[in-house]
Amino acid sequence: MSTGILPAERLDALIGELWAAGYTVIGPVREGGALLYDEVRGSEDLPVGLVDRQEGGRYFLEPSGDGRFFGHTVAATPWKRFLDPPRRRLWRAERRNGQLHFLVETEEEVRFAFLGVRACDLHGIRIRSAVAEAGPEPDEALLDRRRSALMVAVQCTRAGGTCFCADLGTGPAVDLPADLVLTELLEDGPHRFLAESRTEAGAKILQRLSLGPAGEVDRAAAARAVAATRRTLAERSPRLEREGLRELLYRQLESPLWDEVAGRCLSCANCTLVCPTCFCSAVEDVTDLEGARLERWHRADSCFTAEFSQIHGGPVRASTRARYRQWLVHKLAYWSDQFGEPGCVGCGRCITWCPVGIDLTEVVRDLRRREAEESGERER
């Protein structure tokens, strides 16, 4: 479609155009010691000059030393918070004169513009939407929110400490049709963005900004910035080797390693709640004291809670071992059986936001190593 150069000082104009086009703009904002996604009214809301340091169970922000708006990587919360809100009322009923009257919930129509979506998160949104589409009862509410949303992607010019998108082919370059793709540039010219539109909606926004043309220098600088990120990722690769992954997990379902991980796992559910693709939910009924009003709510749940697998007589997965194994094997193997790809995009959130730093890629590497050692011993 079209390409242009957006000077850094005109980022506000872009944000303004998005609001003017009727979108609620959501982007990275600083909240205490971390970055979250929340409403962005202007560029001053963005975490300018801050980078995130992420490792297993640890996160902190520090000055970047430059004026980048998007020098950080993925924020703490995934975008699913907006597409699939953690609490949502499904319907209400009232008892009047002994009769129950059902009131269908009508949702306030919000069109989101997601500003600063990373390549991995675009894949996360795609995978989460595929789950919503699957089966006899598609989640139309989620799909409507997704369809009406505008994606302003940002290419990663830095790899986060727990990122491993390259292993899953989900980044760092934006390869999905986002509406707009920005690459933030500091080299070979003033602070600016290479802006590309990849859809009609994106092209319209760019048109209204009447940007100057992008030159070869800008394209080359953008390519170099993303290539640098790719090199960082390649140096630590493979953190998660996809070759034979599904089969490895199926062979190792009874590995003693699951017990060892369960010894460290808190079954607190944080990994699932920050995962862009985890979708488990619960449905709850609420009544008032008089029994005159009833509400049915949908809320985010997790395979790490006992209630999640509760049936008559107790939970199916009572132990943390069973819960962790279910989560990991579902994410990396059962998901592939159902959807032809794993449910992981390599964003690293589950590693960073695990309060005790459990790294799923390390668990998989340990399973692989032990299997290799065992087969080596047998051959000897």
């Binding site: 929340d38 169970g57 996160y59 607190c268 559910a269 944080n270 008089e290 009572a318």
Partner: protein, 261 residues
Amino acid sequence: MAQRKPRLAVFKFTSCDGCQLSLLDCEDELLAVAERVEIAHFLEASSRVLPGPYDIGLVEGSISTPAQVEEIRRVREACRLLVTIGACATAGGIQALRNAADVAEYQRLIYPAPEQIRALERSTPVADHVAVDFELRGCPIDKGQLMELLSALLNRRCPRLARHAVCVECKARGAVCLAVAGGGPCMGPVTQAGCGALCPAHGRPCYGCFGPKENANVDALVHWWRHVQGVERAQIAAQLQNFNAAAAAFEDAARRLEGEK
């Protein structure tokens, strides 16, 4: 035929009264409660006492004297459904800190006439003495949970009293995880939800006042604090030996921490 209103009774054992005060604090809902139930025994609210049996008994406080051991049995017999409210009733309360100490010595230090004191060696939860139907955790309990419980019982449905971690509520609120983002040792991952992540949402790591979550892996969290985050042993002990010092998962972890010395 007019249905008889269910009878509600509130009993107090060793406690600060804060949890039964939560019922009086339900200002907006209090009239609705009074319309739906007959408040038959609630000394903090009224000196009018109706004899049992009662349909719902809310019990606050731990069992810490020989007389209370007898009294809780009478209360149990008088109540069709018995609900313990608060950290004292569900886990022995802050007074259970004495469980790991010499009670006689405490009495000598504090009371001018210690021989007048009839206290048990240990402050224990109500469930150690009689069968309990439902538990509301917290120091104090959450008003919303109390209303949910009463509403569920009055409408004959199962109350929503989650046993998962505070983290689930923290994430639902969209709060930043203090445990990971430099907020200090947070009890959230091993503490039962129900408060709506009140403290973490205000920038203060969880104190653990709702007691251990189901399947709490306290040792793993303690290990992380000590060996990765370098948290002082005394600070960890203070986190564990708090409102729910006698809750098994916290008490055992505190004992193991002590044994590591």
